[in-house]
C-alpha cells in the first residue's frame, strides 16, 4: 500500500466512469459522437463548396491568360512557336494559339460551322484526331467520322473546355503549318498559380510583331477564392467543437461535486483525482477523434479533393477539449474535500 492509485486501476476507473451508458454520461458520449461526425460533415461541406466554385470558375476560364493586342486599332501578332513554348513553363498547364479560320460546311452539323485552328499544345486531342468537335454542338461524346466540305476526317467530340478557349461551339483543327503568327495566345496556368505574377513573366517570353500586346486574365475575379476559403469562419470549427466539448465536460464536472468528494474523502489524492478526471475526458475526446476520423475517411472517399490534413481536425478538437478540461479539473479539485462533501 502506497497511498496512491495504481496506474492501471486509475485508467480502469476512468473507463468505468466515462463509458457508462446511463444518465448524463450517455449524453456526453452522444455529444462526443456528434462532435466527431459534425467535424467530418463540416469539412466535407466546405471542400464540396470550394470544389463546386472552382469547377464553375474553371469552366469559365479561371487561371486562363489571354495574350492579344492592347489596342484593337493597332493589330499585333504573336509568334505561334513562342506561344506554344510557354506550355513548357512549370507554372503553365497548357498553352497554344487559337486562330479563327473560315466557317465551313460539316455534313453532320450543317452549314457555316465555325472552324478554328488550335495548337495541339493547347488541345492535345489534336495529336490523335484531325478535328475536335465542340461539346456544345450537340453530338454525343466519343470518336466519330466527320465529313467537312466533302473530306472525311477522324474526329472526336471533345469534353467541355474553358469558355475562355472559345472552342465549345466550334470545330477545332490543327493550326495550318503555313500559319506562324497568331493574334491570340491562350495560356492556362496551374490551379494555385498567381495570375498577375505569371502574366508578367509570360509576357516577357512572347515574341511579337506590330503593336503592343497585353497578357490579361480572362476571368477578373473580384476576390481570391482560395484566400476566401482560407479565411472562412468554419476553419475554426475544430477549435469551436473542442471548446464545446470542454464546456460540456466542465458542466458535467460541476454536477459531480459529491462524486469528487467521494473520491477525495476515500483517500484519493488531488493529483490522482485530476489524472482520473483527465483520463475520463480523454476517453470522451477519443470517442470524438474516432468518430471524427471515421467520418473524415468516408468524406475523403466521397470528396476526393479534400486534403489529407482534414484528418487532423478531430485531433485538434480532442486535444482542445482535453487540455482545456485539464485546467478546469485542476481548479475544480482545489476545493477542500470537506467543502466538496457539503456541495451536493
Amino acid at each position: 500500500m502506497n497511498g496512491r492509485w495504481r496506474t492501471g486501476a486509475i485508467f480502469d476507473e476512468a473507463r468505468r466512469n466515462a463509458l457508462l451508458w446511463r444518465s448524463r454520461q450517455s449524453i456526453a458520449i452522444a455529444v462526443s459522437i456528434l462532435l466527431g461526425l459534425g467535424l467530418a460533415l463540416t469539412s466535407a461541406s466546405d471542400w464540396h463548396t470550394l470544389s463546386r466554385n472552382i469547377e464553375s470558375l474553371d469552366l469559365r476560364g479561371r487561371n486562363v491568360l489571354i495574350a492579344q493586342a492592347t489596342d484593337p486599332a493597332s493589330p499585333a501578332e504573336i509568334s505561334i512557336a513562342s506561344c506554344e513554348a510557354t506550355s513548357e513553363l512549370l507554372a503553365v498547364e497548357r498553352a497554344g494559339a487559337v486562330v479563327a479560320l473560315d466557317s465551313t460546311n460539316v455534313t453532320q452539323l450543317g452549314p457555316r460551322v465555325p472552324l478554328v485552328g488550335v495548337s495541339p499544345s493547347l488541345l492535345p486531342e489534336l495529336d490523335h484526331v484531325a478535328a475536335v468537335v465542340g461539346s456544345s454542338l450537340g453530338l454525343a461524346p466519343g470518336d466519330i467520322t466527320l465529313v467537312v466540305e466533302g473530306e472525311v476526317l477522324t474526329a472526336r467530340v471533345g469534353q467541355p473546355q474553358p469558355e475562355a478557349f472559345g472552342l465549345n461551339s466550334a470545330v477545332a483543327v490543327r493550326v495550318p503549318f503555313t500559319t506562324t503568327w497568331t493574334r491570340q495566345c491562350v495560356i492556362e496556368l496551374g490551379d494555385s498559380e498567381s495570375v498577375t505574377r505569371q502574366a508578367a513573366l509570360i509576357s516577357a517570353q512572347l515574341r511579337t510583331d506590330g503593336g503592343d500586346i497585353a497578357v490579361t486574365p480572362y476571368v477578373n475575379e473580384t476576390f481570391d477564392i482560395l484566400q476566401a476559403f482560407g479565411s472562412r469562419p468554419t476553419r475554426w470549427v475544430p477549435l469551436g467543437f473542442g471548446l464545446l466539448g470542454l464546456i460540456l465536460g466542465g458542466a458535467l464536472l460541476s454536477m459531480r461535486s459529491s462524486e469528487l468528494a467521494a473520491y477525495r474523502l476515500s483517500g484519493t489524492s488531488r493529483r490522482d483525482l485530476v489524472i482520473l478526471l483527465a483520463a475520463e475526458q480523454a476517453l470522451l475526446a477519443g470517442v470524438t477523434v474516432a468518430f471524427g476520423s471515421f467520418g473524415c475517411v468516408i468524406a475523403l472517399l466521397v470528396v476526393p479533393t479534400m486534403p489529407l490534413t482534414t484528418l487532423l481536425w478531430p485531433w485538434v478538437t480532442g486535444l482542445t477539449s482535453l487540455v482545456g478540461f485539464w485546467f478546469v479539473a485542476y481548479f475544480a479539485t482545489r476545493r477542500s474535500p470537506a467543502v466538496l462533501a457539503r456541495d451536493r
Binding site: 500500500m1 502506497n2 497511498g3 496512491r4 492509485w5 495504481r6 492501471g8 486501476a9 486509475i10 480502469d12 476507473e13 468505468r16 466512469n17 457508462l20 446511463r22 444518465s23 454520461q25 459529491s258 462524486e259 468528494a261 467521494a262 473520491y263 477525495r264 474523502l265 476515500s266 483517500g267 484519493t268 489524492s269 490522482d272 477542500s336 474535500p337 470537506a338 466538496l340 462533501a341 457539503r342 451536493r344
Partner: protein
C-alpha cells in the same frame, strides 16, 4: 496512533468558534466531539483530517513517540450523508477507498466484499449506490473506512437523519471500527455519546 491537541482554536474572521482545546484523543478508542450546531465540530474534524489548519494551536499525530501533522494519508473522513458515486455499484463505491491506497482491483474487491459483510451490506453489493437509503449510505461509508486501512477514522454526524434502529446499528459499527483504528465522531446524538469511550465537549470553549 493517538492525537495530541495543544491549545487548538478555530476562528472565522473575528468570530472565535472555540479556543484553548488541549488534550489527547486516545488510540483505538471511540471519541465523540459534542456541542451545539456551529460549535466547530466539523471544523475540528477537517483539521484532524489535514484538510484545514486550526487558526491557532497545534494538532499532532503521535506514534511511538514520533509526532507528525494530520494528513489524509493517515485519516479517512466519513462525511455527513456519505458521498457516493450514484451510478456505480455499492461494491465499486467501497473499493475506491482500497484502490486509492494502491491495491489492485481484484484485491480491492475482495476486501470491499469482506467490509460489506461486516457492515451488513453484502447482499446489496451489486446495486447502484444511488438507490441506497440514508442508513445504508452511512454503512457504505464505514465499509470504506474499513478498507482504507487508515489509522484514524473521522465520522461527521454519522447518525444524522437515521431512525433509532439504524442509529444503534451505526453506533455498534463505529465501536467495531475501534478494533482497527482511532475513531472520532462529531455528533449531536445521545446514543453515540453514551457509547463513546471519550467525549470532547466544545460547548464551553468559546
Amino acid at each position: 496512533m493517538w492525537i495530541e491537541l495543544d491549545d487548538v482554536g478555530i476562528s472565522y474572521g473575528d468570530r472565535v468558534i472555540f479556543s484553548g482545546l488541549s488534550g489527547r484523543i486516545p488510540e483505538r478508542q471511540l471519541t465523540a466531539l459534542v456541542g451545539p450546531s456551529g460549535s466547530g465540530k466539523t471544523s475540528l474534524l477537517a483539521a484532524l483530517a489535514g484538510f484545514d489548519q486550526p487558526t491557532i494551536g497545534r494538532i499532532a499525530l503521535v506514534e511511538e513517540g514520533r509526532r507528525s501533522p494530520p494528513s489524509s494519508r493517515e485519516a479517512i473522513w466519513l462525511p455527513q450523508g456519505a458521498n457516493s458515486l450514484p451510478l456505480r455499484s455499492v461494491l465499486d463505491n467501497v473499493a475506491i477507498a482500497a484502490l486509492a491506497n494502491g491495491l489492485a482491483r481484484t484485491e480491492a474487491n475482495e476486501r470491499s466484499l469482506a467490509a460489506l459483510q461486516l457492515v451488513g451490506l453484502a447482499q446489496r453489493g451489486s446495486v447502484k449506490a444511488g438507490t441506497l437509503s440514508g442508513g445504508e449510505l452511512q454503512r457504505l461509508a464505514m465499509a470504506r473506512g474499513l478498507v482504507s486501512s487508515r489509522s484514524i477514522i473521522l465520522a461527521d454526524e454519522p447518525s444524522a437523519g437515521l431512525d433509532v434502529e439504524n442509529v444503534r446499528l451505526v453506533s455498534s459499527l463505529l465501536r467495531d471500527l475501534t478494533r482497527f483504528a482511532t475513531v472520532v465522531v462529531a455528533t449531536h446524538d445521545d446514543v453515540l455519546r453514551t457509547v463513546a469511550d471519550h467525549v470532547i465537549d466544545l460547548r464551553n470553549l468559546t
